[in-house]
Point group: C2
Chain length 217, copies 2
């Protein structure tokens, strides 16, 4: 029974790693679509979001099956509940990549992001990518130190988010309201992507240590 | 055992109803803060978000305890997993009310929403309130027909969201970029509130019928 549980848990972990790699690839490609007006990249992200949703459903089915068959308790039960939370966060991160891709597509062939904002979005995307990489890594090999780093990386995302608004609200903003709206929503998509990465890290820390942090806003 | 499970499930259901009523009250008060520049209302929403977070943790603890003690299967297990999903959606709806309140507070004593947009936000808030009311109702007394109505009500929210952008992007928009950014984010907060209400309804439908719908974007 115990070995069977370990084997099942391993399958669930692998599904979560697959999800994390999937959403990382999705956000990379969505960023390329955004910054280089790459229509094909945007379409690929949107098409492949269904694969991430499928993985999410697989995790749920596996966990429910495992709860029903094995009735785990204590840390094994905690691992199952954590898997559900993590899968939900990753599924949402996939949606946010999809939203970035759709914004790129809506403005295509024009770029959705004007020249002044490209450095900020390039940096936001780099941070999002680092966070997704760390998430995939801690899901493959749980590590409190690596998970805790996510919170620090998220501070850099928040700083970028603030500097985005500083540019949009500068007196010399030349692009009008429509571009400001796009940039506001895009900024929010990257920031929420990072928030979900932090949530995921907190779930992993809880799994390892049993210590919880309050839900993030 | 069976009676004990029913009693425990009843406690979990009541916690979810309390959460739904809490987030409904929070969004009503956040809207008042927004539309009447009511500082006290905004502060109350922000202070009381911790109560919703506490309820969320109580649901999680109760469900984990129940899974460990009673090892439910089939529809009883489904009810537990559904409770976790619903609690997560409601917790997030509380955060969104908190975001609306914080936006109102940031602009106080100026109104965050200019006169031209008040009718749209009044309508969005009315729909959000109807949705929260229906959610509290289906959680107290699961009903597929009432839950299914949420999707239709959400269409009205999406229409309002589109008309918000039409006003912001009109040639005669007189308020500049900052007000447009606030309105964009506020529109997103109400729209996401509605999305989570629809998710909750879908979870309730799944609980009753065993039929699932794909995760919403």
């Amino acid at each position: 029974m115990r070995d069977e549980f370990r084997a099942d848990l391993q399958i669930v972990s692998q599904l979560l790693v697959d999800m994390a790699e999937g959403i990382r690839a999705a956000m990379r490609q969505a960023t390329r679509a955004l910054l280089t007006a790459d229509r094909r990249a945007a379409e690929t992200v949107i098409e492949r979001d269904a694969e991430i949703d499928d993985l999410y459903r697989h995790v749920e089915e596996r966990v429910c099956d495992l709860l029903a068959r094995q009735a785990p308790v204590a840390s094994d039960l905690r691992a199952m509940i954590t898997a559900l939370h993590v899968a939900a966060d990753l599924e949402r991160m996939g949606d946010l990549a999809d939203h970035v891709a759709k914004t790129a597509l809506r403005r295509h062939p024009s770029p959705a992001v004007p020249a002044e904002l490209r450095p900020i979005f390039t940096d936001m995307a780099a941070i999002a990518d680092r966070m997704a990489e760390k998430i995939a890594s801690v899901l493959a090999k749980p590590d409190v130190a690596v998970a805790a780093e996510l919170d620090r990386v998220d501070d850099a995302m928040d700083d970028l988010h603030r500097s985005l608004f500083a540019v949009l609200l500068g007196e010399d903003w030349p692009y009008g309201v429509e571009t400001a709206i796009d940039a506001t929503l895009l900024g929010r998509f990257y920031e929420r992507f990072a928030d979900h990465a932090v949530n995921t890290a907190e779930h992993v820390i809880y799994l390892i240590t049993g210590e919880t942090t309050p839900p993030a806003n």
